[in-house]
């Protein structure tokens, strides 16, 4: 029984680490620009497909392919920001929101057009399974956990230590003051979109390696991402990390011990529960935005 629990905990953390990656991208975009970037899930799926085809076409390993796809995703993110979100930056928030819905449709269905309707699994070649005291730890899942952890650490260093990261934090804290200090907010916006789209692509690749990529996956992914945001507090990076793991673990436990058909309902119930009890999220002491 204990082994069972530990096994589900491990599985939950693996899935949760992917949710964290999705949520981190969403949370920095929301924290800096106040945009609920619904197309993030479709961007993630685009990255997953791209990685798959890069691996097949170039014969390279999963990590180089993922790096290339992340660069591609970053470029896509910048294009989205410039073409779609930039023109409505001063309009009421509902406008950027509807733009996001439009982008979701465009990217989601373009994926379908470009990559077909068949579900694909990103080939990794990590097939070994380690067993420690009855606990099955597949190599693939360990690598997913490590990759996600490495990306989270890299992001934290980037945001905390680099000059651009400082600019990002400054804009998040006080946009007007940041502009007065000579920070180019347009550059910050593009940087944020590039960064979060690259993270999203990484999440898409990990989903594709762990489960599969198919049309319709992105909607679920982006809702999970937002559920994490609500759980951890919109715009909070530590909140996204903790929230992602909490969602992953509770979902895994629910599907193992309650019902797997309804496991996606968990995210919704968690959101409602948090909003009723602590609307600012579990990691926030006060509402900053």
């Amino acid at each position: 029984m204990l082994v069972d629990l530990l096994q589900q905990l491990f599985n939950g953390l693996v899935i949760g680490s992917i949710y964290t990656l999705v949520a981190l991208g969403l949370t920095i975009i929301f924290g800096i620009l106040g945009i609920a970037h619904f197309a993030h899930g479709s961007v993630a799926m685009f990255g997953g497909y791209l990685t798959y085809f890069l691996i097949l076409a170039l014969g390279i390993g999963v990590f180089p392919a993922m790096a290339l796809a992340m660069a591609g995703g970053a470029l896509l993110g910048v294009v989205l920001e410039r073409v779609a979100y930039y023109p409505v930056r001063n309009a009421p928030p509902i406008n950027s929101f509807i733009i996001a819905l439009g982008l979701t449709l465009i990217i989601e269905k373009s994926n379908l057009l470009l990559f077909g309707v068949d579900q694909i699994i990103v080939p990794t070649g990590f097939n070994r399974i380690f067993t420690i005291g009855g606990l099955a730890l597949p190599e693939l899942r360990i690598y997913i956990l490590l990759t996600a952890a490495a990306l989270v650490v890299a992001l934290t260093i980037l945001i905390q230590k680099s000059w651009m990261g400082m600019a990002v934090r400054a804009v998040a804290q006080n946009r007007a003051a940041a502009i007065l200090m000579g920070i180019n907010v347009h550059a910050v916006s593009m940087f944020v979109f590039a960064l979060s789209s690259a993270l999203g692509v990484a999440a898409g690749v990990l989903v594709g390696a762990l489960f599969a990529i198919a049309p319709g996956v992105s909607g679920g992914l982006v809702v999970k991402g937002f559920a994490v945001l609500i759980l951890g507090g919109l715009g909070s990076i530590p909140g996204a990390i903790v929230g992602g793991l909490v969602l992953g673990v509770s979902e895994t436990f629910a599907s193992a011990f309650v019902s797997s058909a309804y496991k996606d309902v968990i995210a919704f119930l968690l959101m409602i529960g948090v909003l009723l009890v602590k609307p600012e999220g579990i990691m926030r002491r006060s509402v900053a935005r």
Partner: protein, 325 residues
């Protein structure tokens, strides 16, 4: 002066339509367009007036459709009663889901409604003993015929169902007009323009938001019930998130916060793919582009834009309204 004349012309055209255009295909499209007009008119209350985007309209349409269909099929409730009860069942669902969701503002709410739609969809697909799962529910009866003297009106006939949906649309527009022209409507607009100020002025905003959400949802449920008894077959597919986005597009395209805009938008979203004869996937990509382009270049929608153009030609140039930017 122009307005009542225009209204009379449109009403006359709608009444005459099935006798002028007798092809079943066009009457079928008109019925679908009117069903979507009811959904869009409802969506407009929460989106156009209160300024909150609800991405659950497709799901609520599903609740209305399934509850009406199952009531008449499994419980043997007369169809007329089932259709009338369906909006209230949907309203109840919206009340329960909306109460916690509307305590938060803006994006939180939209995200929750999206999740709501997904939950509704998951339930429709997985609750197989009741909904029939992905295979759907068949043999949903049309409303019982009405006898007036010796004349019997059967709703198995497409033309008669057309008039039924037309009447439902008229009823919907009466309700929506009454709501938005009342004090409640003004409060909703105040919430859209500045919720903090409205709150500070002593308005319990959440009550009004909840009311707008429930009205929107129950109209979607009403449309869903009409759809179910018209098609006689329903499956979860038409009640997915994609169709909620369709309703949002209809409102934005036609002109949110106007009474006629969403109707025009809904008609366009039904008619365009038929006219263009394109595959489903291209249709949705075009919808996506339409959303982005309209929001960037015509943020007020087609109807206010055309009204402005018309006003410019007929009358003296009018100052750009403050709301346009």
């Amino acid at each position: 002066m122009i307005r009542p004349v225009l209204l009379a012309v449109v009403a006359a055209a709608a009444l005459a339509f099935p006798h002028v255009v007798t092809a079943n295909y066009f009457i079928h499209l008109a019925v679908l367009a009117m069903v979507w007009m009811i959904v869009a008119a409802g969506t407009n209350v929460i989106q156009g007036y209160a300024g909150y985007v609800s991405i659950a309209q497709g799901g609520f349409m599903g609740i209305g459709a399934y509850s009406s269909a199952l009531l008449s099929l499994d419980a043997g409730v007369p169809v007329w009663l089932a259709i009338s009860v369906a909006p209230f069942i949907t309203a109840l669902a919206a009340l329960i889901a909306g109460y916690p969701s509307l305590r938060v503002r803006g994006h939180y709410f939209a995200i929750l409604t999206l999740a709501m739609n997904m939950v509704i969809y998951i339930v429709l697909v997985n609750w197989i003993p009741v909904t029939g799962g992905e295979a759907g529910t068949t043999g949903i009866p049309a409303p019982e015929p009405i006898s007036i003297g010796t004349l019997e009106i059967s709703f198995e006939r497409r033309v008669n169902y057309y008039y039924l949906v037309l009447a439902a649309l008229a009823l919907t527009m009466l309700i929506v007009t009454a709501v938005v022209r009342s004090r409640v409507g003004r409060v909703l607009e105040a919430i859209r323009q500045n919720e903090t100020f409205a709150e500070a002025a002593g308005v319990a905003c959440w009550k009004y938001k909840l009311f707008a959400f429930v009205i929107s949802a129950s109209l979607a449920g009403f449309a869903g019930a009409l759809y179910a008894h018209y098609m006689s077959f329903i499956s979860p597919a038409p009640f997915s998130v994609d169709h909620s986005l369709n309703a949002i597009l209809a409102v934005i395209l036609g002109g949110s916060g106007t009474l006629t805009g969403p109707l025009v938008g809904a008609a366009l979203t039904v008619a365009l793919p038929e006219v263009l004869r394109i595959a489903e996937i291209f249709r949705l990509i075009i919808y996506g582009f339409a959303l982005v382009v309209v929001v960037i270049f015509l943020p007020r929608g087609l109807v206010p834009w055309i009204a402005d153009l018309a006003g410019r030609d007929w009358k003296l140039p009018r100052a750009q309204s403050a709301e346009s930017r």
